[in-house]
């Protein structure tokens, strides 16, 4: 009896992620959801620029590599090429989604574009070696904020879910994390809902996953997961920020 196997939607190849990085967990959750919903054959994923740039080598569905920050615009094009039949998701980091691609993010949300966005927030640019991200915390030491992020110099970290929740457009916004078994289970529920919403033509669904970067945070993997609880979650509280359909039902 098989008790644990690789999801079909995930290709059985070595990944390039650092030890202790949570990208692997989140890839797996996305793939499990694709399997369970039976949508692999009609799913097209859009990879970002950043640590997960090579996600196109890991997912078994058709994949597109987008320019930095442009995944929601590319996804808009793909979705509208065959809106009745395809399922389109983007997988983006914080620099990609909340800095260089903020306009694309906001407008795809405002249009309630019927796509699924998986947003990895680890408060740092990992691929380029640990620079300050739009979501880096106040006081966080990075390569480009060597004395700690100073709000007087570079402003405040952006709370994407809170900001997008002010828009009429988006269907569903939830922030989750993957630093414990319980939280991983919740994250999977949110990701699955974000895909189900698209299947049901409900529109723009974004799941922000608070993640760790042991390498660039300069911590052990275990310490990094704890740092999520002690430092990230207080500024980025977990929870549902918008769920239009659920709110309608409640009314």
């Amino acid at each position: 009896m098989v008790v644990f196997d690789k999801p079909h939607a995930l290709i059985d190849v070595p990944m390039h992620y650092c030890p202790g990085c949570t990208h692997g967990i989140i890839h797996r959750l996305v793939a499990e959801c694709i399997d369970e919903l039976g949508i692999e054959g009609k799913t097209i994923g859009i990879a970002p620029v950043g640590c997960s740039v090579m996600a196109y080598n890991y997912f078994n569905c058709d994949m597109i590599e987008a320019a930095h920050g442009r995944a929601p615009a590319v996804a808009t094009g793909v979705k509208r090429s065959d809106p009745e039949n395809n399922i389109v998701f983007t997988y983006q980091g914080d620099g990609d989604l909340a800095s260089i691609g903020m306009a694309e993010t906001v407008h795809a949300a405002a249009r309630n574009e019927n796509i699924t966005v998986i947003f990895i927030n680890n408060a740092i640019y990992g691929m380029t070696g640990g620079q300050m991200a739009p979501t880096s915390l106040i006081g966080q030491v990075t390569q480009t904020s060597p004395y700690g992020r100073d709000e007087k110099l570079c402003g405040y970290p952006i709370k994407v879910c809170e900001m997008l929740s002010e828009l009429e457009g988006p269907e569903y916004l939830e922030r989750v994390t993957v630093n414990s078994v319980k939280n991983i289970r919740n994250a999977k529920k949110a990701i699955k809902k974000a895909f189900q919403n698209q299947i049901d033509n409900k529109g723009f669904s974004l799941v922000e996953v608070i993640s760790s970067c042991p390498t660039n945070w300069g911590m052990t993997p275990k310490k990094a997961l704890e740092w999520i609880d002690t430092n990230m979650i207080p500024y980025y509280p977990l929870g549902v920020y918008k769920d239009r359909s659920a709110n309608k039902e409640a009314e």
């Binding site: 090579m54 994949m63 987008a66 090429s81």
Partner: protein, 354 residues
């Protein structure tokens, strides 16, 4: 003879794109090409197509990237400053070998420049426009009829060679009205087995991508792409020769400058000066054949441009600098008139040009 309709150049592009099977248009408002978007906004919803006003030129070109990845004919249009913003996307389209049609109805620059006609994006278009080694097929219409015909041709070439075609027009071509026949022979679209349309669980996954971290592989990809470009240079050059056979002085001009130049050629001929015109229709690939022929008998070329002299470099290259090449130009939204061009012809015929 087929029926003709009176259309603006911009509208002719839009209608021809629809006839060519394009059902996806993404754009951002900018003068002087807005009629294309307006036409698409009206038509696309009626024929099951997509018109979407993007939040930016950058988003528009990336939406194009998305539809093209999915294997469908798609276009965007803009004018000079907007095309600069699309530069990133143009490079990615090239790096991912994706077909698309881009229209640039040029205006004067640099910077915000003006809104009157210009040809000063010649370098930007014929040399690629974005970063990296690549080309676009650049088509330069000089009538409203050609705006339509080259749009269809642009889609076909883009699909055949898996690259971007650009219609390089100017504000005059976009705005002027002429009778057009839309009775085209539209070829069936070719299969795109590389497209990301979903595996249907029947094939390996397709990947659309421009990243290649192994230098040997990236070099090979560039070599392969340039082999394709060489095929295009061999097979797809288009140009018109006007009274070139016995010409001493040959004007070189495209778009609106070619229309003006034809009048100047006729005026010169009326006064016994043997003038002619080479009108490149593809600016990339730049047609070399008429220049190789011309250098055998002509005495000089005059590059007539709405720029500070950009195409003139290709004229020198195509003629291997065997003859003097003079520039006759107006810029900033100004258009040379036939008298000005004729005066330049006379000056050179009399041996007085510098």
């Amino acid at each position: 003879m087929s029926e003709k309709v009176l259309m603006k150049g911009n509208e002719a592009i839009a209608e021809a794109a629809i006839l060519a099977g394009c059902r996806h248009y993404f754009g951002y408002p900018i003068t002087p090409q807005t009629e294309i978007a307006a036409y698409m906004a009206k038509k696309m919803p009626k024929i099951g197509g997509t018109f979407l006003q993007a939040e930016s030129e950058i988003a528009a070109i990336n939406m194009v990237y998305g539809v093209s990845s999915a294997g469908k004919r798609v276009m965007t249009s803009s004018s000079s400053p907007g095309v600069s913003l699309k530069g990133e996307g143009l490079s990615y389209l090239a790096g991912s070998d994706l077909p698309a049609l881009i229209v640039n109805v040029q205006r004067g620059g640099p910077g915000l420049g003006g809104i009157q006609p210009s040809q000063s994006d010649y370098f930007q278009s014929t040399r690629g426009g974005g970063h990296g080694d690549y080309h676009m097929i650049v088509l330069a219409p000089s009538s409203v009829q050609e705006m339509a015909e080259l749009t269809v041709k642009g889609f076909e070439l883009a699909d055949t060679y898996r690259m971007t075609s650009m219609i390089l027009a100017d504000g005059t071509m976009g705005q002027m009205m002429e009778p057009v026949s839309l009775d085209f022979d539209i070829k069936p679209q070719i299969e795109k087995p590389w497209a990301t349309t979903g595996t249907k669980m029947e094939r390996e996954h397709n990947i659309v991508n421009s990243l290649s971290l192994v230098p040997e592989e990236l070099e090979m990809l560039n070599f392969k792409r340039y082999e394709r470009y060489a095929e295009i240079e061999k097979n797809e050059c288009m140009y018109e020769e006007y009274k070139c056979d016995d010409a001493d002085i040959i004007l070189v001009a495209f778009g609106i400058a070619a229309r003006v130049s034809k009048n100047a050629v006729d005026a010169a001929r009326a006064q016994g000066i043997k003038a002619g015109l080479i009108r490149p229709i593809t600016l990339w690939p730049f047609p070399k054949a008429p220049f190789e022929k011309a250098v055998e008998h002509a005495k000089a070329f005059i590059s007539v441009e709405l720029s500070m002299g950009q195409m003139i470099e290709d004229v020198k290259l195509a003629s291997s600098c065997k003859l003097p090449v003079y520039l006759c130009n107006r810029v900033g939204g100004m258009i040379p008139d036939p008298e000005m061009v004729f005066a330049k012809i006379k000056e050179i015929a009399n041996g007085g040009a510098n």
